[in-house]
Amino acid sequence: MDRLSLLVWVPVITMIVISFFKDPKKVRLIAAAGMAVQLVQIILLMLAFFAERQAGNDAEMLFFKDIAWYSNLNIHYTVGIDGISLSLILLTGIVIFTGVFASWEITDRAQEFFITLILLATGVFGFFISLDLFTMFLFYELAVIPMYLLIGIWGSGPKEYSAMKLTLMLMGASALLLVGLLGIYFNSAPDGGPLTFNYIEISKIHLPEAVQYFFFPLTFVGFGVLAALYPFHTWSPDGHASAPTAVSMLHAGVLMKLGGYGALRIAVMLMPQAAHEMAWIFIILATIGAVYGALGAIAQKDLKYINAYSSVSHLGLILFATLIFNQVAFEGAVLQMISHGLITALFFALIGMIYSRTHTRNIYEMGGIMKVMPVLGTAYMVAGFASLGLPGFSAFVAEMTIFVGSFQNSALFVRVATILVISSIVITAVYILRAAAIMLYGPLRKQEFELLPDARWYDKVAVFILIGAIAGMGMFPNWLAEMIYTDFTPMFNRFIAN
């Protein structure tokens, strides 16, 4: 078996093993062990990847493997990774591993919960390793659909409504996406010859422009909905608010990145002309998303809503960066995906932990939490600082890369949009500090909070791993940035050439 398929198989085996156990305690241990193996495996994969690159293997995709599984339509199981997908795989590995710890206290149908959760992660891993649009779409759906169950069964609040809304909107987007992908497929051989789903192959050819104009918006919006493209973002606040902790983490941390990744890799890279021509529409939408999401977050009371709107804002930044069309901005988009994934996962983990203690997410009902839960409070502040782009944390690196990248585009329109987008980081500071001030600081608002416990060991595992990753990326960004930048080169050259 090849290395990359292992990324799919380890979760699958974990799920199978879990299905033999009913006891929540055993189940979560197995899940944690499985995901630990997965994480270790990813780190080994990374080392192997670096070794290959060091050895001068400059193929675009490493660990390439190609198996035809439905030859009539030329559908292949094609896998391979470059620095971009590898870094997102690492992100997924970290988030799912910490997600298991964040759901340590789940006892209600724990077996089914962890199976569904890991199924979701499997879909994500599969998505990132796939080079074949069809397989990719398959894994994409595999990742999106368990969300319905996870929110609908283990959620809180108006969970059925939220689950339904989320699923319907994402499915609607999938429908657009499927049309887009099939459109690409059926035009993948304009000069005759066999059609192909392999996007590396497709990116080497020039899709007819009429085709691009038609399918680019479909594909971009299809992926964009998952990345909370304004105005298709409203599933996100409700969905996140109702979802259980680990699901919010995984969803905001990783799943929304599928949208960004797809928008960048498929929509923009395969259809450059249309992307160029239509960029202005989506730049406007992404800019609105970035500013509007941040402003919307100011007015929220519920921690999860704050964070959901913040995600809209940060994802707006990602989508914005994918439409600037230079290598630095593209690199920034990927960095922001990773950074936002980690930070938002940390946020949701902390919110879940705080909620499980105070049983409220309304910031006005809390106050002075820092005194009773110094570890969680401090971690929340760290997450907040990371999110508002403090140097030393990952978001700074990502945002600066995006800003520097987009400033290289000197069109006045892009300039203005960039400045608006940059201004969103000030608003970010406002809502982060506002929430922290109300919730963490000041005198203790409710006496019964006096006795609440601080973080337990499994909470600490989740929190510290995430903080470590965020700070690590923030302090030593260059290896990651270089890897992504370098691996963008072949893609970018084709993009320019097209």
Partner: protein, 641 residues
């Protein structure tokens, strides 16, 4: 080169980072005293290294071919954007950064020592020292930055340490609000800084100070040529960068956070909000001075104007404040305005750059005596447990050390010879006089105001009647006294440093001469201010009240800080929160989400309506089917024909 001999300077910030991580991570596991000692040891070590670096630089390696060179003993790639735009982390040594090293480590070390006494028994002692170390680390990183982006990074880090320290008493809502305000206002200003950096770097293709400040490199001309809305892009970029500096240095109209920042512990105010962080804006402009002076003199005019205006404006407010820390805060704003003014009126060159030298000189002396003032005020507050002047009086008998050191500092800031402030202020006024007389007269007037409000403060606190005190006020404990005395000594002697021999705009040493006319004028008005204060506040009487009553409008406006806070409050609360954020939240819930829900609702409605079609009546289905088949047949026939 001589860079190798300075490679140890990289340890100056790193020691403090290590101290921060150690104290911060272990925090409660350390005994408070141990935590304090670790941090203090770190800063003292850093101070020793900084002094040795300063000695090595000024009296040795720095001076080459008759002018001070810029040395980069350490530089490490941190993040690469493009081939030319890279962020490096490095150490840059030139006269002003070395001077700042000395200032920061000295004041910081004094504050560390002082805090042993001041913060004794506070909860979160360890956290306090951790944050102090973090701040010192960031500030040192800032002053030694080799490029704009490194500066920006540490700029943000000092901002956050300031936030953390202002909000140190996090259970006090006013402290929380103040910290939030400080962070957000400076962050807003940093937005300008960031955009300025991006704009500048887009045209110059570099972040490096070394490259940017080369006088003859021509790198600036490309940017100077492009114009946007009537000014060159370079001017725009520099004004935006200055906006960042103005935010950090509390220049009008971004000054509002600084008085509120006094909610933090007093030693913090002394360190961050008097001596070091708030002068970062001045330092930034000085750092890019060549770019300003050579590339965009128009931007420099903006700096001068804002500086002059702020110094006057803040001084007027300071006169009527009753919270001693707030008086000092406005005084700080006013003095920084001086420094900005001096930079703004300066030219590029050695003698022509008198303003530049004066600004740096004033920065240096101001750091000493303003820190001293704050620490003295801290000792007073420590003794009487209040910030309000109305709760104080007659303290000279109870607090002899504090009284004496405070007097020295007050004389120094008022510009009484031979104390430090006299020399630096004299140079500033001379530079302003050479540039534009109105600036001179405004600065001269501010000097009088400064003397007046400082001595108003001094007389009301240390003279007059005793008040009701909770317990008999006790003088500063030894740790605090050491710091006070050290800084008092510094305030006396630093004025005699021949500053222009070390710091000048283009690095060439030169000699300044005393401007006797300017000096006489400024001393005269300072003495007049002191005399007025003595006349009004030393005798029991109601002169001050009657004066206030005589000018009700001015008094009220000044007392209420010209309502700038209210304007901000209106903008944030009404405009942004009520006018933008809440409507957007509403809009999102009801219009955007409403559309989505509306689509779902419409679908449900339609299906509710058409579900009657599935009536269960077999024959209706048959009817429909046959109808369909017939229609289809018809179509086929039609098209077939």
């Amino acid at each position: 080169m001589h860079t190798d001999m300075f490679s140890y300077t990289v340890w100056i910030p790193l020691i403090l980072l290590a101290a921060f991580l150690l104290v911060g991570l272990l925090s409660d596991k350390l005994k408070p005293l141990v935590a304090g000692l670790i941090s203090t040891a770190a800063i003292l070590l850093a101070a020793v290294l900084a002094y040795s670096a300063a000695a090595g630089y000024f009296f040795g390696a720095g001076l080459q071919d008759g002018h001070y060179t810029t040395l980069i003993p350490f530089e490490q790639l941190w993040l690469r954007f493009t081939d030319t735009l890279v962020i490096k982390m490095g150490i840059l040594l030139d006269p002003i950064s070395v001077m700042m090293l000395v200032v920061v480590t000295t004041v910081s070390a004094m504050v560390h020592i002082y805090s042993f006494g001041y913060m004794k028994g506070e909860k979160g002692f360890q956290r306090y020292y951790a944050f102090l170390s973090l701040f010192s680390f960031s500030m040192l990183g800032l002053v030694m930055a080799t490029n704009l982006f490194q500066m920006y990074i540490f700029w943000e880090l000092v901002g956050v340490s300031s936030y953390l320290l202002i909000g140190f008493y996090y259970q006090r809502p006013s402290a929380v609000a103040a910290s939030k305000k400080a962070f957000i206002v400076t962050r807003f200003a940093d937005l300008g800084f960031l955009i300025g950096i991006l704009l500048l770097s887009y045209y110059t293709r570099t972040f490096d100070f070394m490259t940017l400040t080369q006088p003859n490199s021509g790198i600036l001309s490309s940017a100077a040529g492009v114009s946007f809305m009537g000014a060159s892009v370079l001017t725009w970029a520099l004004v935006l960068i200055f906006m960042g500096g103005a935010g950090k240095s509390a220049m009008f109209p971004l000054h509002i956070w600084l008085p509120d920042a006094m909610e933090g512990p007093t030693p913090v105010s002394a360190l961050i909000h008097a001596a070091t962080m708030v002068v970062a804006g001045v330092y930034l402009v000085a750092r890019l001075f060549a770019v300003y002076a050579l590339g965009a003199p128009a931007a420099l005019e903006v700096v001068a104007f804002i500086g002059a205006f702020t110094s006057l404006f803040a001084a007027i407010i300071a006169i009527t404040q009753t919270d001693i820390k707030r008086v000092l805060a406005y005084s700080t704003i006013s003095q920084i305005g001086y420094m900005m003014l001096a930079l703004g009126v300066s030219g590029y060159g050695s003698e022509a750059g008198l303003g530049y030298t004066a600004s740096m000189f004033h920065l240096f002396t101001h750091a000493m005596f303003k820190a001293l003032l704050f620490l003295g005020a801290g000792a007073v507050i420590h003794a009487v447990h209040s910030n309000e002047m109305t709760d104080m009086g007659g303290l000279r008998k109870h607090l002899p050390i504090t009284h004496f050191t405070f007097l020295i500092a007050a004389l120094a800031i008022s510009g009484i010879p031979p104390l430090a402030g006299f020399f630096s202020k004299d140079e500033i006024l001379a530079a302003a006089h050479g540039h534009y007389p109105l600036y001179f007269w405004s600065g001269w007037f501010v000097a009088g105001l400064t003397a007046f409000y400082m001595f108003r403060l001094y007389f009301r606190v240390f003279w007059g009647e005793d008040r009701q005190y909770e317990h008999k006020p006790h003088d500063a404990p030894p740790s605090m006294a050491i710091a006070l005395i050290f800084l008092a000594l510094a305030s006396v002697v630093v004025g005699f440093i021949p500053f222009s021999h070390y710091v000048s705009a283009n690095g060439e040493p030169y000699t300044t001469h005393m401007h006797w006319q300017v000096a006489a004028l400024s001393v005269a008005i300072a003495v007049a201010g002191i005399g007025l204060a003595a006349w009004m506040y030393l005798r029991p009487g109601t002169v001050a009240d009657r004066l206030a009553a005589a000018m009700p409008g001015l008094y009220k406006w000044s007392k209420n800080k010209f309502y700038i806070d209210e304007i901000y409050l209106w903008v944030t609360r009404t405009l942004i929160f009520k006018g933008l954020a809440w409507p957007i939240a509403w809009f999102d819930r009801h219009v955007v989400d409403g559309t989505m829900n509306g689509m779902a609702w419409a679908t449900a409605q339609v299906s509710e309506k058409i579900k009657g079609l599935q009536s269960g009546q077999l024959q209706q289905y048959a009817y429909a089917m046959v109808l369909g088949a017939v229609a289809f047949l018809l179509l086929l026939l039609y098209w077939g024909a």
